[in-house]
């Protein structure tokens, strides 16, 4: 029954509360709204052409996605060589025509190569009898990170603070060593390599660049001109030069400025370079967050008598950092991948170690490089993807409590 609402009218009964139409919920609803609605509109010539193009495009994309996925599965799993029981090395991953045992035209991953190089890819040339030190450090790191991911973890705050303060000292002692007298002989950082170097550079950069970035961002907004110019100059300087130049200068030019006899560890130089570089980017991301804060928040904090540092710490920064989580994680991910550039100054990070393994003539084969690159790419992808997902979770969580 339809009521005429154009004249005076008083409702006698409430209109019924109904569930939504069936085809708007669930998987069918999703399909209807996102796919079908785009390709079944033939209401006019323009709409019909658009529908046809959409349908063709959707099918083409599906086809090529499946194609690429299949090629990857075929190479990495189906065609791949998994073991090398007779230690044939390169022969096991080469076709007959090239003197190997695989049929001609074979193209698959050479996983025995990855297995054989695994230790080198993870630890570099870290002495074999000291590897337990790296393992323990890694284990503590993993346990700590896993604990921090659970919201309901008891003593979460304490664990977090320990991970930021005690853990770096612990890791330094374990990895560098204290000397023979305590059973932890020094290990020269020139022997470090692979995932170890990648994680050391990336984690140091990540942990140090955030507080540095906060300080620089606050400094750039300071009322004191000297502080403001200093921070602005610092940020603009480090943002203005490519990381590769920073690292190059650190390894080539820095020794020229140091007194003779004084040397700085190559790894330390890379750490400092990467950290300062990342903190300049971080500062700008955080400044964006500071600018998004309503002026009223600063005024309310001032009016309550909180003072500069307390209002920053308790009111402004918690909100500003929450706003820019995507930007912060973006910078972290960029930093993580940029660590591959340390190969420039002769450090064997994961990519550098893979590069060295690729040059091993004992495993020389057409699939040697692609196998190792696939492995390295997978490692970087997993790390970055985890960071990305974690940031999304964090955003959702903080969003819930905020608004």
């Amino acid at each position: 029954m339809k009521t005429d609402h154009s004249t005076a009218y008083v409702r006698q009964e409430d209109a019924p509360l109904l569930p939504p139409p069936r085809n708007e919920t669930g998987i069918i609803g999703w399909f209807n709204q996102n796919i079908l609605s785009l390709i079944n509109d033939f209401s006019g010539i323009g709409a019909a052409i658009r529908s046809v193009l959409m349908a063709v495009g959707t099918l083409a994309i599906l086809y090529y996605s499946a194609h690429i996925l299949w090629a990857l599965i075929d190479f990495a799993i189906i065609e791949a060589v998994w073991s090398d029981p007779d230690e044939l090395k390169r022969v096991v991953c080469t076709t007959e025509i090239a003197g190997g045992i695989q049929h001609n035209g074979w193209h698959g991953a050479c996983w025995p190569l990855a297995t054989a190089k695994m230790k080198f890819l993870i630890y570099g040339a870290y002495p074999a009898e000291e590897l337990w030190r790296v393992n323990i450090t890694g284990l503590v790191l993993i346990i700590g990170l896993v604990c921090l991911m659970f919201d309901r973890m008891p003593y979460r705050m304490h664990i977090g603070i320990s991970m930021l303060t005690i853990f770096p000292v612990f890791a330094y002692i374990m990895l560098v060593g204290l000397g023979d007298w305590i059973g932890l002989p020094y290990v020269d950082t020139r022997d470090w390599g692979g995932v170890l170097v990648t994680l050391v550079v990336a984690l140091t950069g990540i942990i140090a660049s955030l507080p540095l970035g906060v300080v620089l961002a606050l400094g750039r907004q300071s009322n004191m001109p000297a502080v403001r110019y200093l921070c602005t100059g610092f940020i603009e300087f480090w943002r203005g030069i490519p990381l590769i130049t920073v690292l190059f200068m650190a390894s080539v030019a820095l020794p020229l400025f140091l007194p003779t006899g004084v040397t700085i560890d190559n790894l330390l130089r890379a750490l400092i370079g990467v950290t300062l570089f990342a903190s300049a980017y971080m500062a700008e991301v955080i400044r964006g967050g500071l600018q998004a804060i309503d002026k009223g928040q600063y005024e309310a904090a001032d009016a309550l008598g909180l003072g500069y540092w307390k209002s920053m710490r308790l009111i402004i920064l918690p909100q500003a950092l929450t706003y820019v989580i995507p930007g912060i994680v973006n910078t972290f991910i960029g930093l993580f991948k940029d660590t591959t550039l340390v190969a420039i100054i002769g450090l064997f990070d994961l990519l550098g170690a893979a590069q060295a393994a690729i040059n091993d003539a004992g495993w020389s084969s057409p699939v040697q490089a692609i196998t190792l690159y696939l492995l390295v790419a997978t490692f970087y992808f997993i790390c970055c993807f985890v960071m990305s997902r974690y940031s999304m979770r964090l955003e959702r969580k903080l969003d819930r409590s905020n608004r």
Binding site: D294, A300, A303, L304, K310
Partner: protein, 257 residues
């Protein structure tokens, strides 16, 4: 009327705010011109005037959110100058409520209230919580203590903002158009809380266009225009026999709707 007379007796001789020849400029714009104002302890002052007349600027000078450039401001015996320590002392004793509430959105209602007492006054947390709960009770929203500001209506948020300011146990409360950002049906609940506060003898300076409220609680109504105090009087005389033409024009505009 009787209520008004009863309230008025609470104003004492002690002067808690004095502004002498205060001038202020925003760039070359002379926003406050020769402001002279003494406020007695327990006095309730309403400031009104057209938009842009400098009302907000006056009360923001009283807790140094804005810095005056000429004349003296003395609050509870402390002179507001460039001395950071003096500014902090004054801010502890002067609470402020803003038009836009300015609650901290990342903190719960209770945390909003106990933040300043615990961090600025170093009050033990349990004591601060008790105080906050009793004040939330007074503004009639104790049951919202664990919600976040974004989950509350405008009127509720403004009442929390009042409670938050009161948690510092201030001597003086400043209100800058506390009901101007509210939907009409929420104005009364906020004004009721403010009337209740006035009855406790709090020294209040309130910028508002709620003339009914002004009549009810004010000891003095001040009319500002173009950065100057044009007229001030007791509410009855102010509303019934305004002297200046500008006041008459303004009152005819705000009272006509």
């Amino acid at each position: 009327m009787a209520n008004n007379a009863k309230l008025k007796k609470q104003g004492s001789e002690e002067i808690v705010i004095s502004m002498n020849g205060v001038n202020k400029w925003f760039g070359s714009f002379h926003v406050l011109r020769d402001i002279n104002l003494n406020v007695h302890k327990g006095e309730r002052i309403i400031i009104c005037g057209p938009s842009g007349s400098g009302k907000s600027t006056v009360i923001r000078c009283l807790n140094a959110l804005e810095h005056h450039q000429g004349g003296d401001i003395n609050i509870l015996g402390v002179t507001l100058d460039n001395n950071v320590h003096n500014v902090e002392t004054v801010r502890r004793d002067v609470g402020m409520v803003f038009q836009q509430f300015n609650l901290f959105p990342h903190l719960s209602i209770l945390e909003n209230c106990i933040l300043a007492p615990t961090w600025v006054k170093k009050m033990p947390r349990a004591e601060a919580v008790d105080l906050a709960m009793s004040l939330l009770e007074r503004v009639k929203i104790p049951e919202q203590a664990h919600k976040y500001p974004g989950q509350l209506s405008g009127g509720q948020q403004q009442r929390v903002a009042i409670a938050r300011a009161l948690c510092m146990q201030p001597e003086i409360m400043l209100f800058d158009e506390p009901t101007s950002a509210l939907d009409p049906e929420m104005i009364k609940e906020v004004l009721d809380v403010m009337v209740g506060l006035a009855e406790t003898g709090m020294t209040m300076i309130c910028v508002t266009h709620e003339m009914g409220f002004a009549r009810k609680v004010a000891d003095r109504v001040i009319f500002m225009d173009e950065g100057q105090i044009i007229e001030q009087n007791e509410p009855e005389a102010f509303f019934s026999k305004p002297k200046s033409d500008r006041t008459k024009l303004f009152l005819s505009q705000v009272l006509s709707h």
